[in-house]
Amino acid sequence: MSNAIDQTRRMLSLVTYLRERPGAEVAEVARAFGITERQLINDLNVLPMCGTSFRGGDLLDIDTDGERIWWHNADDVAQPLRLAADEATALLVAARAVAGLPGLRERDRQALTRAVAKIEDAAGESAESSARVGVTFEAEGQVFADIDRAIGEGRLIWLRYWSHGRGGMTEREVDPIRLVTEGHTYLEGWCRTSEDRRVFRLDRIAEIKILDEPADPPRLEPRDLSAGLVNPAADDPQVVVEVGPGGRWVAEYYTHDAAEELPDGGLRITLRSADPAGLRPLALRLGRDGRIVSPPELAEQARGAALAALEHYREGRA
């Protein structure tokens, strides 16, 4: 992410940082600023063009041999800068949200709470608008704490897990990898039962045991979660759902390939699912707000389930 704003922001901090550290190592500075060495070298190429007057020659005399960085005329141009409102908001909103996560270790929570208070102090009026943004993370505190402990101790866990798509309880052994929170909290792990990487929603874990056996998840590439937690595979079966205006929410809740506007204000949504049968609850939920177009088996299953359910009501009335 090297747009001009972020780069300027970074260079302003960089000069303050370098002033205190003559001969700083390129590799170390890049790590400290969370950028690649290439990005840092790029910044270091720009800085000698900067100063208080290009005509008077008051430019920053910063140079590098690719390994270390030297600033030959370091003076007091560089003081630590106050936080901008967006910077204070980004930091404070995130820190408050994490501090409110049920099940977080008490020590971490206290450290965060202290940090928030100090940042609020240092940010002054920049912190004011941070109260206008809030984020809530939800988790089942006890389950969260158990999984956190299992990850910390590197142990296998056993779950009794509610499979919502299948409408039943399952038992699984899982090598825990990490806890991911995005609104709800999920356990990401290697499911030994299905021999695949899976995410489990904490509020659907009915029972958890930390086993004595050590966890041994296969080496997996860390997943990019920016597009959402559930990323269907390219070869997963396709599901087409047509919804009316009342069913447009489907497009917000399900990662989909296409959502085509329909003349009545509805949508034709195309998505992929590793297990289309697991969408039966969705099909039943939609009622008059939509229908499964394909696969036909899914539509038929939903219809069968609805008929069986209606039978209870018919009997009840008789």
Binding site: I5, G124, V133, W162, L179, G183, R248
Partner: protein, 329 residues
């Protein structure tokens, strides 16, 4: 080749921070090569527009730029006073710094994630002892903001500027224009909501960002009404979502089925023949939730909930009435 924007911004910042008297536009144009170029090769206008945009950008980055008269010639000048731009002393211990650096990584939205890392960089430059990026942590909180309306509304709420946008109410076939004074944004269960004053409806309203279509437009002027001391977006949204209900419903649930209902049941009574009877909170949207359980659940009361679920099931079964159901079972 035109001089890169970052270089130009950096030069402007350094000039403004290192002067003790206000610098006029003319002086800045003389000192900063990019401006000189814009002025010589473009026009006075081109330079002026560029300068105004750059000042705004630096202010976004937190720089306080004062506009003062130059004592010498009375011309308007600009400066970024040191005392107003210095970060106050801040002492974080290693534990606090580590906790903060986890929090700074949670934003999945470009503007906020840039701002969060910018904040860490400033703190690091000020001497806060952040460790180097550790191995992936066991906990990864994420704040998504995929809604296009997020960024403009964030800025509008920050600056207390009214906005207007096209909005599609839940279940509505068409969108309508809304004119809003944005108070606060809240992310709940991964979705963003806006609370504010709806100017046309003359009332406080909550909007779901994903239902905003098209551009969020900034309106001239300022807020017309007072902003409430405390805006509880979450409580409003949660009640839409059926939380905090005071009414109750009674359902029959097959044993082993409906775990999510069991966790929120107020009471559970065993029945014969492999069924349980549950009393559950009855809030918004419960009918749709219950329909999901298909033949594993029967609504006993209240009657309107029972009718709602039957209606949903009939729609899925493609039937017009309960009487038809028997023939197909």
């Amino acid at each position: 080749m035109a001089i890169a924007k970052a270089e130009r911004l950096m030069n402007l910042a350094l000039c403004l921070m290192n002067t003790r008297r206000p610098l006029s536009k003319k002086e800045l144009r003389e000192s900063i090569e990019a401006y000189r170029e814009a002025w010589q090769q473009g026009s006075e206008d081109a330079f002026n527009r560029m300068f105004e945009r750059d000042k705004d950008d630096l202010r976004e980055l937190g720089l306080v730029i004062d506009v003062d008269e130059n004592a010498l010639d009375g011309e308007i000048g600009y400066l970024a006073r040191r005392d107003r731009n210095r970060l106050p002393e801040i002492a974080l211990d290693a534990e606090e710094a580590a906790a903060l650096s986890v929090a700074a990584r949670v934003w999945q939205q470009a503007k906020m994630s840039g701002a969060a890392s910018g904040a860490l960089q400033k703190l690091r430059a000020a001497g806060v002892p952040f460790g180097e990026d550790a191995e992936p942590s066991a906990l990864q909180p994420l704040i998504p903001a995929r809604e296009a309306a997020f960024e403009p509304l964030l800025v509008a709420a920050r600056d207390r500027r009214p906005v207007s946008f096209e909005y599609r109410k839940a279940g509505a076939a068409a969108t309508e224009q809304r004119s809003v004074e944005p108070w606060a944004l809240e992310c709940w269960r991964g979705h963003w909501y806006l609370a504010g004053w709806d100017r046309d409806r003359r009332d406080a309203r909550v909007f779901r960002l994903s239902r905003i279509t098209g551009k969020v437009r900034s309106r001239a002027g300022s807020f017309t009404g007072a902003v409430p001391e405390h805006v509880d977006v979450r409580a409003v949204v949660a009640s839409f979502a059926g939380e905090g209900a005071t009414a109750t419903a009674t359902v029959r649930l097959r044993k082993g089925a409906g775990f999510p209902l069991r966790t929120k049941a107020l009471s559970t009574r065993q029945l014969d023949g492999g069924w349980d009877e549950l009393e559950i909170p009855y809030g918004n949207g419960l009918g749709a939730d219950l329909a999901e359980f298909g033949p594993d659940l029967v609504v006993l009361a209240p009657e309107e909930l029972r009718a709602d679920v039957i209606d949903r099931l009939l729609a899925v079964a493609g039937l017009n009435g309960l009487d038809e159901a028997g023939a197909h079972a």
